[in-house]
């Protein structure tokens, strides 16, 4: 555990480093100035632009390092929430009665079980979207979501089969009607679930 003395020393070191970084940032402009000086072309209209360039470089170097030193670092998490990426504008489509929602955040080092759960939830959301909207729109949404997740052609084929009613998900009850024909009535298995209750 660090003491307040350590903390103040660290802060002092940071400010010293910021001044050093600012000076180092101005070195290229300084070299240009020295070349001008040696060539005997040291005039106010030649030196002032170089000074401006040197100052701006020092300023940006300072800002860059200040951001690195003082801003808190983000925790390494892969944010897969409803307000990220292509899912952002499609949140309303994915909100269907009875449909599983996409988990808010999946940690980068999550277990494989969590990843599978995320995959299941995503595909169920796609099915729910299919039941509420038209085929084309749902296809676009599904493609974007799958591309975001996997980026593999295999899943595209799988989704195409699902749309055509050729493939059934292992974790859902069998469907009588192809998904693309289910335009009404919430999630694709809603009627089936209702009848079994």
């Amino acid at each position: 555990m660090s003491s307040p003395g350590d903390s103040s020393l660290r802060e002092a070191g940071k400010l010293y480093l910021l001044y050093m970084v600012a000076g180092a940032g101005a070195i290229p402009a300084g070299v240009a100035y020295s070349l001008l000086h040696i060539a005997g072309r040291e005039r106010w209209w030649t030196v002032s632009p170089i000074l401006g360039v040197g100052l701006s470089m020092a300023f940006y170097a300072w800002k860059y390092c200040e951001r690195r030193f003082y801003l808190p670092r983000k925790s390494p998490q892969l944010a897969l929430s409803q307000d990220v990426g292509p899912i952002a504008g499609l949140a309303d489509m994915l909100v269907a009665p009875g449909a599983a929602q996409i988990p808010m955040v999946v940690p980068l080092w999550s277990s494989s079980a969590q990843v599978v759960n995320y995959q299941i939830a995503s595909e169920e959301s796609i099915l729910a979207a299919l039941s509420r909207r038209g085929k084309d729109e749902a296809w676009t949404v599904s493609k974007e979501i799958l591309q975001l997740q996997y980026g593999k052609a295999f899943y595209m084929e799988r989704l195409r089969d699902m749309l055509a009613g050729k493939r059934q998900l292992a974790w859902t009850a069998p469907q009588k009607v192809p998904i693309t024909q289910q335009r009404e009535g919430g999630p694709p298995n809603a009627a089936l679930c209702g009848s079994t209750r």
Partner: protein, 88 residues
């Protein structure tokens, strides 16, 4: 606006902090430049390094002025807004 708004303890602390660290950075640059020039010996490269050092020192001084000014004005605005020294 009270005088402490301009020269309160926090402002003086910021001024001292910047002065100390800027001086340390300038001394470091001067020492480094001297060391490299001593290693290289007299010549064109030493002249370039000497001129570069002067330029860098000017830039560091300007940075010092800018950041001290910004810190002082930030502290001044904070003092005036909080009304810390109005009663003083």
């Amino acid at each position: 606006m009270a005088s402490q708004d301009w020269f309160g303890p926090e402002n003086l602390k910021a001024l001292v902090k910047h002065t100390v660290h800027c001086s340390a950075a300038i001394l470091s640059f001067v020492w480094l430049s001297w060391l490299v020039r001593w290693a290289l010996g007299p010549g064109l490269l030493s002249t370039i390094i000497e001129d570069t050092e002067k330029f860098v020192l000017v830039v560091v001084l300007l940075m010092f002025l800018v950041h001290v000014g910004l810190d002082l004005f930030r502290e001044l605005a904070r003092n005036v807004k909080s009304g810390r020294f109005v009663a003083a």
